[in-house]
């Protein structure tokens, strides 16, 4: 990671104030943490993810992302059943730093509670709230 790098806020995902993102892919929702979050955490060295099959509500803690310095809980931006977790992060947790919106995804949720999507932010809102310091 590099602190000097411009933080990216892609438009094709929705954001939670706790810095997770959701991307809808048909019946499945893909979940990860935002570029802002990975940059703030620094070098990610460990990711703990839930068991496939668990059902969680929006706002439930589903796992932990750890940097060298600290462990941070991550929360479901959307309710539903855990359909898959990103096993590649076991050996390469730094992928969350290098590709937060792509190969660094954390979960796939199927089925998901579509109504939860309305409570999430679009990229412009998320970005402006971070820049104004309303969320951090």
């Amino acid at each position: 990671m590099s602190s000097g790098k411009e933080i990216s806020y892609p438009n094709d995902v929705k954001y939670a104030a706790s810095h997770e993102w959701v991307k809808v892919d048909g019946d499945t929702a893909i979940v990860g943490i935002s570029d802002y979050a990975q940059d703030a955490l620094g070098d990610i060295v460990f990711v703990e993810l839930p068991t496939v099959g668990m059902e969680l509500k929006a706002g439930d803690a589903f796992g932990v992302v750890e940097s060298v310095k600290a462990a941070s809980d991550v929360y479901m931006p959307i309710g539903g059943a855990i359909a898959a977790t990103n096993d590649a992060l076991k050996d390469a947790p730094e992928t969350v730093n290098s590709d937060a919106f792509g190969a660094g995804w954390l979960l796939k949720v199927f089925p998901y509670n579509a109504a939860d999507l309305d409570k999430l932010m679009d990229a412009a809102t998320y970005k402006s709230k971070i820049e104004s310091g309303e969320i951090h």
């Binding site: 602190s3 460990f46 060298v68 462990a71």
Partner: protein, 365 residues
């Protein structure tokens, strides 16, 4: 509370630092990343702004006698222009702070931790009754920098200002910059060869910039508090608020080597008793045997019972292992003993290992 800033605050921001609160100060936690910075210090060299640390000057006829009373180490045989680590204890043997003491020509300097400055100044003053000494907080006179790593000497030599090629480990010497006095010492808290500089305060930024510039082709990086912590942790140097505090003694913290129990000092009787009769807890280093990272404050359990607590824990960048330090009862302190670290409610196996986790290659020059 308003956070204090060092004069290099803007310089850190311009270098891309993320700032955090530490001991009442707003300090850089990292610039380009803790892992890169950690490795730069192990393999090349890194520059630290440690101006938040406090310096107390002790002068007067009783200076030596006073320091021998105040601190755990014995300073009687110390050479002029040398440095020594010591702990400052309360009467009950627990720790006020840990310090580095510099013996200079006709004066002594005690370097204390940032977050403890006010408390330490008050404590030191309170112990001074009856001693013919003068105490002065000289933190504002000097800008304190650390420059650590195997290439530190070669980079400093390029600058011309400091002649450090023949400076021995744990020794110091004066230099002059812009007509003002500074001190450079071959000391540090990273487990690498390196230096700590007490630069005339007006020259802090000048020296910072000059070192980074002289080292830019050698892989020299500015280093934040994140890597400062991981570096000292691998070398098993105690950090106040973690391994030592007002609930632990230097004997429990495995700092007996820094205590001369043959002289009298504040807290000595308790430490001597512990040394002879043993302690109820002991600081150990451990390595995780199962997936998981121990963190400060996590419980240590044995056979389902909580028996201790983790004081520091993280993935060790040089060792590429998840390791930790923590207090356990003496019967669980032997190398090879297994216990559980409770990570988010889950007992996770760990084993006591030999410390320091990382032993420096070039120390003792």
């Amino acid at each position: 509370m308003d956070l204090k800033r060092t004069p290099l605050y803007d310089t850190h921001r311009a270098l891309g630092a993320k700032m955090v609160e530490f001991g009442g100060w707003e300090m850089p936690v990292q610039y380009q990343g803790i892992l890169d910075e950690h490795r730069a210090v192990r393999n090349a060299a890194g520059l630290f702004d440690i101006d938040h640390m406090g310096q107390v000057r002790v002068t007067g006829d009783d200076a030596l006698k006073f320091l021998n009373h105040l601190l755990t180490a014995n300073f009687s045989d110390m050479e002029i222009n040398s440095a020594k680590y010591a702990v400052m204890c309360y009467a009950d043997g627990t720790c006020v702070d840990d310090t580095f003491v510099y013996r200079l020509d006709n004066e002594w300097m005690v370097v204390v931790n940032a977050g403890n400055r006010d408390k330490d100044n008050a404590w030191i003053k309170a112990q001074a009754t009856g001693f013919d000494i003068e105490l002065k907080d000289v933190s504002a006179e000097f800008y304190m920098l650390a420059f650590q790593g195997p290439k530190a000497e070669a980079v400093l030599q390029k600058l011309g200002t400091f002649n450090v090629a023949d400076l021995q480990y744990r020794h110091a010497r004066e230099f002059s910059l812009n007509g003002e006095r500074g001190i450079i010492a071959r000391t540090g808290y990273t487990g690498e060869d390196g230096f700590e500089l007490f630069v005339p305060n007006s020259q802090g930024k000048h020296v910072w910039d000059a070192i980074l510039d002289a080292g830019k082709d050698d892989g020299v990086l500015p280093i934040g508090l994140g890597a400062r912590d991981s570096l000292r942790f691998e070398a098993k140097f105690a950090l106040y608020g973690h391994e030592i505090d007002a609930n632990t003694t230097p004997i429990e913290a495995a700092l007996g080597w820094a205590c001369d129990l043959n002289k009298n000092f504040v807290g000595r009787d308790v430490l001597l008793k512990q040394k002879l009769e043993g302690t109820t807890k002991k600081l150990v280093g451990f390595e995780m045997l199962e997936r998981g990272i121990a963190r400060a404050g996590y419980e240590i359990a044995s056979n389902g019972n909580v028996v201790g607590v983790v004081t520091s824990g993280m993935p060790a960048p040089t060792l590429e292992k998840n390791i930790g330090l923590g207090y356990v009862p003496p019967e669980l302190a032997k190398v090879g003993t297994e216990f559980d670290i409770i990570i988010r409610g889950k007992p996770t196996k760990a084993r006591v290992v030999k410390t320091p986790f990382y032993a420096n290659r070039a120390r003792g020059k």
